[in-house]
């Protein structure tokens, strides 16, 4: 139930979480996140870490695609840039992991901005295809710049170190990955209360109008690419620490499509959407695996798991676009609206 939320100050009106109910539930959520690693099995911890990494990358892509309206199929490649940066820094100099992650984000940001340059001349689908090019060119660099990236064999990454404590298990990685994910998501949510975020939304809605209003398109489109790639870079860095090895095949084009699918399924242009979408799309293959395990002749059916996954993946994209274009976030809002007046309206 949500009633009696009259606001008296502008400050209260602009707050990110504006009602007491919301704040209480968020506290509950935070408590759950903190308790989770102590009760969950290793498999669930692994999934939680994977979801958190995907949430970061999907949030970044949502800033670019959902809020600025620039479609990108290069998110995974930029993630790769971050992962390689972290891997090289950790192996060569063993710098602290927070610094590495920031550096990974920064390098990915620069690379992302370079590949974002075509966005000034082309948009929409042309841009999507230009970012496919980025993805292939980066893959080529990963595979052939052997001196730095280790070629096709890739690099192994030592675990992150916090005051001499190696983060080498799922339980320990959880405490590095999830807080960073929460921070990055909060950052993204706050971004759209600032001048920059508003400019992004204006560009999405009509870029020529935005330019007439005095928003320099060049700067803001590149900035959006930069921020999205920064998110991808940090996610890639965490990925490198979590899986402890990076190869050129770790970040294929299909992974970029996966992130795009996350934000379509979750809901474009909402922060909640990136979280729900990334969690949903990461868990669906696992759920399928579970269902296949229940089938009568599970052994024989196991071969069909991979193609069924691929099909379900495609069907989810298509189904959500046709039947629920605003994604899971809209479903969530519908449920919430129902409970706003719940006991009083029948």
């Amino acid at each position: 139930m949500r009633i009696g939320t009259a606001k008296e100050t502008y400050f209260a009106d602009e707050a990110l979480f504006d009602t007491r109910t919301q704040r209480v539930w968020l506290l509950v959520l935070a408590a759950l996140l903190a308790v989770f690693p102590f009760v969950a099995s290793q498999y669930w911890l692994y999934l939680a870490c994977l979801v958190a990494i995907n949430v970061i990358a999907a949030t970044g892509l949502n800033i670019l695609t959902g809020y600025t309206g620039l479609v990108s199929l290069g998110q995974a490649a930029f993630m790769g840039v971050g992962a390689y940066t972290v891997a090289v820094l950790e192996r060569r100099w063993g710098t602290p992991f927070l610094l590495n992650l920031l550096a990974g984000g920064a390098v990915a940001m620069v690379v992302g901005m370079v590949f974002g340059v075509p966005s000034l001349r082309v948009k929409g689908l042309y841009l999507a295809i230009a970012t496919i090019a980025a993805s292939f060119i980066l893959h080529f660099i990963f595979a052939n710049w052997t001196a730095v990236t280790g070629g096709t064999a890739g690099l192994t990454v030592p675990p992150a170190n916090v005051f001499g404590l190696p983060l080498d298990s799922e339980f320990r990685s959880y405490w590095m990955i999830v807080p960073i994910a929460v921070l990055m998501v909060l950052g993204a949510a706050n971004l759209f209360r600032t001048r920059i975020g508003r400019a992004f939304i204006a560009i999405r809605d009509r870029d020529i109008s935005a330019e007439v209003l005095g928003i320099p398109l060049l700067r803001y489109k590149l900035l959006s690419f930069g921020i999205a790639s920064f998110y991808a870079g940090v996610a890639g860095g965490l990925w490198a620490y979590f899986f402890r090895s990076v190869t050129p095949e770790s970040f294929p084009l299909i992974m970029s499509i996966f992130f795009l699918a996350c934000i379509i399924v979750g809901g474009m242009g909402t922060i909640l959407g990136s979280i729900l979408g990334a969690a949903f799309m990461t868990l669906v293959p696992e759920a399928l695996k579970l269902v296949f395990g229940w089938l009568p002749n599970a052994e024989a059916m196991a071969v069909h798991l991979a193609p069924v996954r691929t099909m379900v993946f495609g069907a989810l994209i298509v189904g959500f676009l046709i039947f629920e274009p605003h994604g899971l976030a809209e479903m969530w809002r519908r449920v919430r609206r129902f409970f706003h007046l719940w006991p009083f309206r029948t």
């Binding site: 082309v122 929409g124 230009a130 496919i132 292939f136 193609p307 993946f313 495609g314 298509v318």
Partner: protein, 293 residues
Amino acid sequence: MIDWLLFLEVSLAGIGGGGLYALAGLAFVLIYKATRVVNLAIGEMLMIGAYFFFAAASELGWPVGLAIVAAVVASGFSGGLIERLLIRPMLGESPISVFMITVGLSSILVGLVELVWGADQLRLPEFMPTNPVLIGEAMVAPKIFYGFLVAAVLIASVLILFRYWRGGVALRATASDRAAAYAMGIDVPRVFSLTWVLAAAVAAVAGIVVGSISSLSPTMGIFGLSVLVVVIVGGLDSVLGALVGGLLVGLVEAWTGTYLGGEYKMLATFTLLVLVLMIRPYGLFGTHEIERL
């Protein structure tokens, strides 16, 4: 010193391969011109055509000619099905949403093919003459030569169809102005279906040839990425662009593949793509759309 004979042979092979790119590009441009859909699943449409051929020729043991006809018809039918089930509901939605639909479609098709025929590589039955073809002194692989011939004949017939057939005229009318076409009594939704059927049939032929030159596997969709480069370089809505772009990309791939090594192929095509996007964003022959508020 450059070996000119080798260069000539490589170039001829490139042009041969480019013919197939042009054919697949034509299928893409057909869809884009009539329905304004950027079809990322073009490679997968080639793939299902080739698999239909495989099913008819190898699994059912039909004669090759009949099998080709059956594969083309089946592909055309599935093209129509795709249009009715997935593309039609998205009519009037933003182009980006429709683009995503085709991204999803490509996944569905890959999964479907893998489920039915497995993920392993398959070989199509041989049906082209196998003795090498000599053009002057240069030798061309027979499959590539006949593949190019098929592509050229098919492209020419599609172009003639466009020019003189009623349906082709309706298609061109729809492409140039949808509302006016409606007003002239053209059944635009039917033209949409027709385009998808036609494009899927053309793609099926291209798929059969590509599949018989290399081999058949669910990863054949990669070919579609090169086709995207072809149509972007040529201009999304230009048939001439698809032809020139196809030959250009074929040549670039053959040259880099021979002189630099196979791993540079993709790099070269996509670098070409980025260059064209930077210099002429609407492609070599595409219409430059002026945006107004």
